[in-house]
Symmetry: C2
């Protein structure tokens, strides 16, 4: 724990910003376990790899012997959206919160060590706070400074309403840091303002201020937009091994290195060596295999990665797919997806939907290597599959 | 109670604004006692005539059989100024609040009927509110609308800090109206925004909205600035009869009519008759006597007014003061006031302070008709006295 330089190197990797690094160094030198806090929304326990960037960073601290505080913001979750404008922010019941917390634990403990992770709910202290104390908390920050927050200033500038309680939520989040006496708080770059409120409140409460660390937002499978469930470009941490592996194989070589940086537990040195190998002529697909194996192992246990790789190779490589497969993006008008026959026609793999139906009937259509006999099959939004008609008509179909 | 026209006439008198008058008419037609709310700061129970403009209006409702709710905002008073920036807004203890409430009652029950007045403390319900409910309350109003309040928009515009809890106080005041199901709320013109917040919250809580009434700010003895203790131009409701009477005699004839409108319980018809009498040649001073007698009677009991008038006449008129007395304004550098000798010299009644001391020693100096023998006497800030040196050197000295 006293190798501060080594610790810093690991902490800095893939980190967007550290405020203030000099303070972090001082804290690392204390020689005691630091309290490293990260806050999570109690409503969405369905994690994807994008969320794990932050959790991986918590793991780095944990491996150095520090205490990770996984904070579930259930207090605000149980209030919901009091303006009633958002149907998705209905108040959660205590039972839902507990169930969601269990689901969180199931997912995060694939990355974090349960023995070194403290799971907290901020309702524990927030429910004790009366309205007078809430008012005092609100007195600790000014309207002008709150309006400096990016989304607030944009909404205020464009005359979109901001309800006053929205000004209280960053203060609640900051107060959590006061109660927990957090040494470090980690969040996405979009959380930077709120994390800094925690710093400010700790100062006002006479505490040593937490170091604020932001991690980047992970790009989704398309390599452009942020990984997100609603964009369909995500890999869920609970997805079956073959799906997870297959999706990882679909990313570009450039994105692969980004994923190595943000998702792999390989050391910086190991990743550098892999890059060198590719420069020296190694097939990038084989390196992508290594990433896929690591990820599947992480979420499905040791051995699951190799099995997924073998299944992938079995399905695709033994089928002697060409090295270059054209990708065709199809947009689905229907939220239930697009019928396979229609997709084949639109991608130009068949001349008409009738030909598609005939080919399916004859057993001449494969999707991801598997023969299709259901002529009503639909390809869902977000699907990315390799479709074959006969031997030679092949394309990757992406439903967007 | 069903003479709605007559009721309206009395309610409108000296009222600045009624929002919305049509709703008030509807409420008056209900035939049940209306709940008429007015809120008071728990820190300043030392009332002057300026405060009584509002209390008089409450009395008008009370005389019509409505229920007056005298609301003491002790919840916020017990929080004080949480930013700690204002030394004058220290948190009040429960004991202080109760003591202040008693002092309030002593003063307001000279105007209101105790049997028809409900005294409430908003801590009763606000202390029950937890932070979650406070957040929900805060969700009911937007930042933009709150920033429309005059003082907020000025401060925001000139980059003066507004602490976020200041946005919560108008909501607390509005919530009081919800809890009390107020039909009418009366306040000073400076309270209009807050009173309207109450209307809005009642709407959101599905209640019939309170009618908002504002009463004007009473001018002080100078006839220009608002009556205020700190400006020294006030008449306290607990001032001794002779002081109260003397101060009222010092106001201008124009201000006298304003005071008749806002302070006298005489009917509009009676006041009109008095005006006519003056136009017909009656000495305005005699009419001012009637105002003085009414006011002193109100705060010191029937008969006290005439006694004060007689004492006044005894002291001044029998001393054959000239009709026109020059007023000299002196500014006091020292908060303890200005030595009488210095004041006499600055007003030109003596040539030097040594002459002043000599005249005092010889018994030739009178203040408000009384011989002065203390050469160290000081005239306090806000004092307005008639000083005489010998028989002919006379001036009214106002210490500002």
């Amino acid at each position: 724990m006293h190798d501060v330089e080594g610790a810093l190197r690991a902490i800095r990797r893939g980190t967007e910003e550290i405020l203030v690094e000099a303070e972090l160094i001082e804290k690392l030198k204390l020689g005691r376990p630091l309290r490293v806090k990260a806050g999570f929304d109690p409503t969405a326990p369905d994690l994807h790899l994008g969320h794990t960037v932050l959790i991986n960073k918590l793991r780095v601290f944990q491996e150095m012997g520090h205490e990770v505080i996984f904070l579930i913001g259930d207090f605000t979750g149980m209030i919901g959206d009091p303006t009633g404008k958002s149907a998705t922010r209905k108040p959660l019941t205590r039972e839902q919160v507990i169930e969601n917390a269990r689901s969180y634990e199931e997912q995060i403990f694939k990355i974090l060590d349960p023995a070194k992770t403290r799971v907290e709910f901020n309702s524990r202290w927030m429910n004790e706070l009366d309205s007078g104390e809430m008012i005092k908390l609100a007195s600790r920050y000014t309207v002008a400074r709150m309006l400096e927050r990016d989304d607030f200033s944009k909404r205020y500038g464009s005359q979109q309403p901001i309800a006053i309680h929205e000004f209280l939520y960053p203060l609640v989040q900051g107060y959590d840091s006061v109660v927990l006496e957090a040494d470090v708080e980690i969040g996405g770059t979009d959380q930077k303002f709120n994390l800094l409120v925690g710093r400010e409140l700790q100062r006002q409460y006479g505490q040593s201020q937490q170091v604020v660390m932001t991690v980047p937002i992970l790009e989704g499978l398309d390599g452009v937009q942020k990984m997100s469930k609603s964009l369909g470009n995500y890999i869920g941490v609970s997805e079956p091994p073959n799906d997870m592996f297959g999706k990882l194989m679909s990313i570009s070589d450039m994105l692969m290195w980004r994923y190595f940086d943000l998702l792999s537990f390989r050391t910086v040195e190991e990743v550098t060596r892999l890059k060198q190998q590719v420069e020296d002529g190694r097939n990038p697909r084989d390196v992508k295999f290594e990433l896929g194996v690591e990820m599947v192992d992480r979420f499905h246990g040791a051995g699951a990665g190799l099995a997924a790789r073998d299944a992938f190779v079995e399905r695709f490589q033994k089928g002697q797919l060409p090295d270059e497969i054209e990708t065709v993006k199809l947009s689905s008008q229907d939220e239930n997806g697009i019928p396979l026959a229609v997709a084949l026609k639109e991608a130009g793999l068949v001349a008409s939907t009738s030909e598609a139906y005939r080919m399916i009937q004859q057993g001449g259509v494969r999707v991801d290597g598997e023969r299709i006999d259901d002529r009503g099959l639909k390809l869902c939004m977000g699907a990315s599959v390799i479709a074959q008609v006969g031997k030679r008509r092949i394309a990757r179909l992406e439903i967007v």
